[in-house]
Symmetry: C2
Subunit: 459 residues, 2 copies
């Protein structure tokens, strides 16, 4: 006998939580589709040679290698032929480069699939998790206007998810670079190290960060550190304030001017997109993967749960697929780590276990009524109602128990008496009440009830 | 520069084919849900120790092993810790055994996920493919009535897929065993070998099969072989014929009597379930994994494309999870290999490339109209219409080209003249015609068009 268990670091759900999770993914998918993104799915594994490029970022991500029984010995290069994707961006780059001549640009794709990282197993860290990505990929060029569309998608999506107020925090990598250059920190690598230190403000406290930045290898003057800390503390409080914050920045280098202009255009377009100003703000501390993003960057936080961190992040990049094609493919995109998000929302009590996807259980009180039960189930299913039939005439209390444990809300009962009167009894197990419906109106009556319910839940 | 390509043996689709495939999966999912099955998802990898049991069937299936960068060396036992699932049945067994006390029985789950097999790469053979499974799992016992529900699901599902007439072929393992015992072939292993020979009838011809069965190790009399060949040739032509075929069988051993009784009950219930008799038939040659199934077995064939083979198969088993729990968990289920099915239906011309999921492209003739375009897009999206906005005022012919290449059917145009008149021009690119809608009626007018279209396509 083997103990049945999953590997550590995966999220496996009981059916009613799986239903709640599937609904969350469905809201995400629906919003991606409404905004005109088209679906792509890629294989879970890629050729190692294709997936693992020289940038080395993937070693931090702890790649999982794959090999079949017949090829357990490693390949000549010492690395198995296949590896599981660790994000959806590299597969997108490979996909777009591979199918470049079959796609229309700008290419707008969404992808909702699982990715794999050999993380150290710990609470809330997953080795297998869903990512929900959108990207718009241009050929040679891509208008900054696409950068403004992304927050509109985020806004629509998280509004529909109904998990409370949120703020889309915006920054721009050119602006960030320009600011650092203005402080005399010209080297990109150095800028990244500085920002990484500044990012520890909450954890280490301002004095410790000051001390680090004053010491080797940074050796920054106290005045420079002051300006740096003031800069990264900027959070705009309204649209007008965001514009005012941009105006306050020293014109400085070319990068700064360009970054400010881009940010301004994005902010203005957000109004045309109808994103309420309470839902976006400047945050000059956001950097996100400095080696990858080159323009606008996004993070999204739940106002009441800042400790969850960013629930939707991304940005603009200059060239998606330089490893695979000579074509220049600039793009902008975001990613939602849906598994971690769901897990955290559930921990925070913002997502409840769902009712069963089974809406009606047709009870069976007597074997002689089986054909009637099956006929009723056919009617209900034809009306689009998810229906299960109790196929064995167990004790009624056991049938109720089963419905209750399964989270099925309605139970339909066909007693002799009701049949004689041409009616059917419907029990609402949630409200602990029951009512009768005339036999010919059963499907329509239940459908109306269920639709009312769905409308109440905003589905 | 690395050549962008996928590993062999995977099906990766361009967006419009991906949309067609997603719709097929959606029809499958919807039917599973309507019949009261609840969703389960399991991790793509399982612990090797849990996944790989002693039965050895998995070696035939060429398991893929998984190991992270940090653990490229094999484990002590010589086998990596993780392995990709090769079907959805073993993960189901693990899941049910693991969560036994949290589930209500009969447990009815559907699962639509990819599975992995290290097959030799060849046309139409996949190393990664979707399986769409339903199973009903009982505790200690499960009524034969559930066996009759399965064809009702198959019937509803393939009717809605609209891929032509199909026949659900039925057999029963007890009946098969009883028949062989009646011929003096008592050993289960021997029965399996005989059936495997008989299965080669089409390929090898009747004379070759006869010769094999007369020789070692079978040494069957010519009369026995005759009875065998007559038996496996049985295909019922109607409900009444199916019953008559059952009546014709010699009562024989206990297994035979039980198999006939089970089959009779399933056939009678199929009528109550409303499965038309043209859609099911007895086929005594079906065996399916003799070491696993113990009662009813199913195969489904497209009447016009028998060469495709079974598109949906399964059966009844006595005990799902004997490797993981002492509880007896009998069940019945089916599986659809959706990737292979989609690939074959496309080859046969039964599934066409879909239009884009983007229903409307709002064109842009002049940058000054951008805010109007965005306002219109918001209205359309609020009405549930998947809408893309042309964000750059390119030449109109290029915008049409883009819509056409992307498979977007409708294009909305806001010319100066139309705006002045309070109307909007809609171009139907499929029909090459255009019409005007009053600005306030745009969303409702387009929605009506799209719903009409969906109804025509049966979606």
């Amino acid at each position: 006998m083997i103990k049945p268990r999953t590997p550590p670091g995966v999220m496996e759900l009981l059916p009613r939580d799986q239903i709640a999770f599937a609904r969350m993914l469905e809201v995400i998918r629906r919003n991606f589709e409404r905004f005109g993104f088209v679906p792509v799915e890629t294989p879970v594994f890629e050729l190692s040679e294709v997936l693992l490029t020289k940038t080395g970022g993937e070693t931090e991500r702890q790649v999982y290698f794959v090999q079949s029984t017949g090829a357990l010995e490693k390949t000549a290069a010492g690395v198995p032929e296949l590896a599981l994707r660790f994000d959806l961006t590299v597969p997108l780059a490979r996909y777009v480069a591979e199918h470049e001549h079959e796609l229309a640009f700008p290419f707008r794709r969404f992808q909702i699939q699982r990715v794999y990282r050999g993380e150290r197993a710990q609470r809330g860290r997953f080795r297998e998790f869903y990512q929900c990505d959108i990207d718009v990929i241009g050929k040679d060029a891509l208008s900054i206007r696409h950068d403004a569309e992304i927050p509109a998608v985020i806004h629509a999506l998280f509004s529909e998810l109904g998990i409370g107020e949120f703020t889309i925090q915006l920054n721009n990598r050119k602006l960030l670079r320009g600011f650092h250059e203005g402080l005399g920190i010209a080297d990109g690598e150095q800028q990244m190290l500085v920002l990484r230190e500044v990012d520890k403000l909450d954890k280490r406290g301002v004095d410790a960060v000051r001390a680090t930045l004053a010491g080797e290898p940074f050796s920054l003057d106290a005045a420079i550190v002051d300006r740096l800390l003031a800069f990264v503390a900027v959070r705009s409080t309204s649209h007008a304030d965001a514009i005012a914050q941009l105006d306050k920045l020293a014109p400085g280098r070319e990068a700064m001017a360009q970054g400010v202009a881009e940010m301004r255009e994005v902010l203005e377009l957000l109004r045309a997109y109808g994103v309420p100003e309470k839902n976006y703000a400047l945050n000059f501390s956001i950097a996100r993967g400095l080696d990858y993003y080159t323009g606008t960057v996004y993070e999204t936080v739940l106002d009441a749960y800042p400790q969850i961190g960013s629930i939707c992040s991304g940005g603009r990049y200059d060239d998606l697929a330089s490893n695979y094609t000579k074509s220049r493919l600039p793009g902008v995109g975001i990613s939602i780590g849906a598994t971690r998000l769901f897990w955290q929302l559930r921990e925070a009590g913002l997502i409840a276990t769902a009712d069963s996807s089974v809406e009606v259980l047709v009870g069976l009180m007597d074997d002689a009524r089986l054909a009637d039960s099956l006929a009723i189930a056919r009617e209900l299913r034809a009306a689009g109602i998810c229906t299960e039939v109790q196929l064995e005439a167990k004790k009624l209390t056991r049938q109720f128990q089963y419905a209750d444990r399964s989270g099925i809300r309605y139970m339909v009962l066909l007693g002799e008496d009701e049949l004689a009167r041409g009616v059917v009894t419907v029990k609402d197990l949630r409200r602990q009440e029951q009512f009768e419906l005339a036999r010919p109106e059963l499907a329509a009556g239940l459908k109306a009830k269920l639709e009312q319910q769905r409308a109440l839940q905003g589905r």
